[in-house]
């Protein structure tokens, strides 16, 4: 340990890196959080803020269990953050809807959920298919085109910009050394410690945790790990503040604690975070109006695009390096939903120096090598 500036260097100051840093600091470690500057391509500033369970895990049953673990931990996690910072991230878990606008969509939805819940080894939880009348009892403002929905009582949402701010406030209070404009260019392991070359000089640490989103793709190979990613662009349209009318999040639409309505869930093959495709925004809004006709005359005040952090199969990657012991990688699309897991479950594993394979073995990047996985 002697000579190290820090016990752990976390690379990436978004939601995943900040939550992990907070968890490591709670374990008593000296943590440096290396971040880029204000112009970083940052999913934590552009996400949709759902804490979402339904649909997760088709193709990898363990992902459903991992998601529910975080969803169940979220309430306690937000209470801890509030105790430490005085800030309320407005976590709510009323259950959430996936609305369908045709019989065909509804049937496809039911089939998807059937396939998901029929997988061997999947955790038991409830997702119900509801018809128009059943949905209307909970969402009285739906339009006549909504033929039905799936509803999962475990779904929720949060104010994710406030979560981002709250985590940074919390790590600062816990003595994490936050180093902005320290873009990591190279990582080596020499004499039992990691040396991270950054735009602002070298940082030395006993361990390293890569939480740099899509940039993990370039960083992971430096420490004998891999992170195959396929970034994807999403766009969000935001309305003016409205009186509360929508008391449940919908997968493509939610009303925030502050009254705005966010409309989103588009997917485009693009890595340009500055562009906006007007046709995509128009489609998001058109579907939103069909779902909730009272939105027809509402004013739009903002729209943005952001790049999703996405692994090649959409499931998280948690790995530790065999060639560079003490190096870990964390990649996931759902940085909000899984935030409680990163803070309360993964960070303590990294602090102990070994991932708990009973929990995260299914998420090793070894799954991308079918021939060798065995």
């Amino acid at each position: 340990m002697a000579g190290n500036d820090y016990d752990v260097a976390v690379v990436g100051g978004g939601l995943v890196g900040a939550a992990t840093s907070w968890g490591l600091a709670r374990e008593g470690l000296r943590v440096a959080l290396l971040d880029e500057g204000d112009r970083a391509v940052r999913a934590s500033r552009g996400n949709f803020a759902l804490v979402w369970v339904q649909s997760k895990g088709l193709g990898l049953a363990a992902y459903a269990g991992w998601t529910i673990r975080s969803s169940n931990a979220w309430g306690g996690f937000s209470d801890l953050l509030k105790q430490e910072t005085g800030l309320d991230v407005s976590f709510q878990r009323p259950g959430g809807f996936h609305l369908c606008l045709s019989e065909k969509e509804l049937e496809a939805r039911a089939n998807n959920l059937r396939r998901l819940h029929n997988q061997p080894g999947i955790v038991e939880y409830r997702t119900e298919m509801l018809d128009h009348g059943q949905v209307a009892r909970m969402l009285p403002d739906i339009g006549p085109e909504v033929v039905g929905a799936s509803y999962c009582p475990l779904d929720g949402h949060v104010n994710s910009l406030r979560l981002f701010r709250t985590l940074h406030t919390a790590i600062n209070a816990r003595g994490v050394t936050y180093l902005p404009s320290h873009r990591v260019e190279n990582i080596t392991k020499e004499g039992g410690e990691f040396r991270l070359t950054t735009a602002k000089g070298e940082i030395r640490a006993g361990k390293v945790a890569l939480a740099a989103g899509n940039a993990n793709m370039q960083l992971a190979p430096m420490v004998g790990l891999e992170a195959p990613m396929r970034p994807e662009r999403g766009q969000i349209v935001v309305s003016e503040r409205l009186r509360p009318f929508l008391h449940y999040p919908v997968v493509t639409l939610r009303q925030t604690d502050e009254g705005t309505v966010m409309m989103g869930d588009s997917k485009e093959e693009s890595t340009d975070p500055t562009g906006l495709t007007l046709g995509v925004s128009a489609t998001e809004v058109e579907r939103a109006v069909r779902q909730f006709p009272l939105l027809r005359n509402v004013n739009v005040v903002r729209t943005w695009s952001a790049i999703r952090v996405m692994t090649q199969d959409g499931f998280p990657i948690y790995d530790e390096s065999e060639s560079h012991p003490g190096a870990f990688v964390l990649c996931c699309h759902s940085g909000v939903t899984l935030c409680a897991n990163h803070a309360l479950t993964v960070a303590p594993m990294i602090a102990r120096g070994a991932l708990d394979t009973s929990l995260v073995a299914p998420f090793s990047a070894r799954r991308f090598h079918v021939q060798e996985a065995g």
Binding site: E240, R241, L242, R243, F245, G259, L294, V298
Partner: protein, 97 residues
């Protein structure tokens, strides 16, 4: 506080929160409210602080009012019309209005 110039147009009557107000053809809703001595036309969505028309040129959005049942209209961009119903917008707009 405000004084009309001499060449004002023909008289029209509109209602502000149900109360008849006399205005002139060519007035905007915001101008008519100021001329009638209305001291605020909305309260803000977060703190409920009162706001009155300010820039009068479509930029500041402080003159938002409900006009004929449609919320968040910019009063400074809408000309008055005989029989128009203008309402103070209180806090957050109600969706569907």
């Amino acid at each position: 506080m405000f004084k009309r110039l001499g060449d004002a147009g023909a008289a029209v009557t509109l209602k502000i929160d149900g109360k008849p107000i006399s205005a002139r053809t060519g007035d905007t809703v915001a101008a008519a409210m100021l001329a009638a001595g209305v001291d605020h036309c909305r309260t803000t969505p977060v703190t409920g602080s009162p706001r009155a028309p300010y820039c009068l040129m479509g930029v500041c959005f402080d003159c938002l009012v409900t006009i004929d049942g449609v919320g968040s209209r910019q009063g400074c961009l809408v000309p008055v019309r005989e029989g128009m119903a203008v309402e103070t917008q209180v806090g957050k707009r109600e969706a569907g209005r």
